[in-house]
């Protein structure tokens, strides 16, 4: 029993090295994309965002809704769903747990 535990413990540094070696390139890819795509908006971009939003509303009012292709509509739906999911992630952070409120 003690020997089995010793053998397991001696394998841990090897496992840690293997994990690091595995995750390094994948982490690099993640950072490569996240530094451009997941970065929060700089203060200069916020007025542009407001402009885009007003353009969207105006386009909606001008009746462009009937001219969107199904492909565009599905893509917009997916983007909207992703934005909604960020809200739920924020809620999980705020309540300090993943499932349910820990009262």
């Amino acid at each position: 029993m003690a020997q089995a535990v010793q053998k397991l413990v001696s394998k841990v540094p090897g496992m840690i090295n293997a994990t690091v070696a595995y995750s390094k390139p994948r982490l690099a890819t993640f950072w490569y994309y996240a530094r451009v795509e997941l970065v929060p908006p700089s203060p200069a971009e916020i007025p542009k965002a407001i402009q885009e939003a007003t353009n969207l509303v105006k386009g909606l009012q001008a009746g462009r809704l009937g001219q969107t292709t199904v492909r565009e509509a599905v893509r917009n739906g997916l983007v909207a769903t992703e934005v909604l999911m960020w809200f739920y992630i924020g809620e999980c952070i705020g309540k300090g747990g993943i499932v349910g409120y820990d009262v």
Binding site: T29, Y32, Y33, R35, V36, E37, V39, P40, P41, E45, I46, K48, A49, E52, A53, L56, V79, E82, V83, L84, W86, F87, Y88, I89, G90, E91, C92, I93, G94, K95, G96, Y101, V103
Partner: protein
């Protein structure tokens, strides 16, 4: 590897404001639910004590009332 996509500013602001709104909402709801849960737990404790008391009394009565000549 494809180059990273330039995300539109509207989507970026929407994502991060949704995140912050979610954090605030989660915190507020947690603070609202916590005293309610504490109150419910307190009430349940008291009722459990009363139930235990009654069970104890019922047991004593039942023991006193059983008459059999086999004792």
């Amino acid at each position: 590897m494809l180059p990273p996509v330039a995300v539109s500013p509207l989507i970026k602001t929407a994502r991060y404001s949704a995140l912050i709104a979610g954090i605030i909402y989660g915190k507020k709801r947690y603070d609202y639910l916590k005293p309610i849960a504490a109150e419910e737990r307190r009430i349940e404790e008291e009722e459990k004590k009363i139930q235990e008391e009654q069970a104890r009394i019922a047991k004593i009565l039942a023991e006193a009332n059983e008459d059999t000549i086999l004792k």
